[in-house]
Point group: C2
Chain length 172, copies 2
């Protein structure tokens, strides 16, 4: 089964992000707006039984921290993805590093670029129009991260939450 | 904000359910296949802070239990909803009762009919066709319930998981 780890930002951010995703994100119906902390990875039931206590441990070691968002950015020319750029922070990087070391396959394919996707799989012309209009826009969004979620993927490519890990609140 | 409490069945059941929902359920993109344990209710942040420890307590008091599914049923003529009927059990009823008493508004509007929706908002002719073909079908599905999820609703009516409560594993 395919699993992933993500953070769902607060409702205000999700609602704003969805106002763009609805029109521009091919994955709109597959998962709520999210910040990916670990890309999709293959794991069987036995592996998950080992990883869950590890995720609890990581959650218990982590203090709630703030994230801020001020602008959009893009993965072009690698892909036509447009996203809200989450300002990098040491706390976010530390959490990401813990989810890519020890019992977790530490093959982080690319450096961590914290982001919340607004648009993907657009044709070039639409991509240029949307990015052109969003790149000048100033955002002023903030959130307090106090948890993350382990999800698995269904056959239709949508994601279901398996378990939530709340910082400092897990029983091991 | 609107909250609800649900159980997501295992991937096998979800995949089977989605094969119907994709064509017949107007809520297909809004939430994964689920068994509703508490209908949508309004709550502010303060209330949720009180309810979360209560949900942990209920989860800790509950032992994992099995559910089985053998056939579809319908809410007609009240609504054209077609669902997988989850065979009633004392464990399921007890959990439902705990989520509708004490600190929880105990206004259960209708008796608890455990179900996983396959189809809703169909026009009458389509409803008759789909129910006609499904009502003779025998299902042989089973699952082990060991958790439930507290979700909140976004402005686009989709649902995001706020927290998971695993039976016997919550730290209070």
């Amino acid at each position: 089964m395919k699993y992933g780890i993500a953070y769902f930002p607060n409702k205000k951010i999700q609602d704003e992000v969805n106002s763009y995703r609805k029109r521009y994100d091919s994955h709109y119906a597959l998962i709520p707006p999210h910040l990916t902390l670990k890309d999709a990875f293959e794991a069987d039931d036995e592996t998950i039984k080992i990883l869950v206590p590890e995720l609890k441990k990581i959650a218990n070691e982590t203090e709630p921290f703030s994230i801020t968002i001020n602008k959009v950015s893009t993965f072009a020319p690698i892909s036509n993805t447009i996203y809200l750029k989450v300002n990098p922070s040491q706390e976010l990087q530390t959490l990401y590093d813990k989810l890519h070391s020890g019992k977790f396959s530490n093959e982080a394919v690319h450096p961590f670029v914290p982001h919340i996707t607004l648009a993907q799989d657009l044709v070039d012309q639409e991509y240029s129009d949307v990015f052109g209009s969003l790149k000048m826009k100033r955002f002023d969004l903030a959130d307090e991260v106090d948890r993350f979620q382990l999800l698995y993927q269904l056959d239709n490519n949508s994601w279901t939450v398996y378990e939530t890990f709340v910082f400092g609140k897990e029983f091991i």
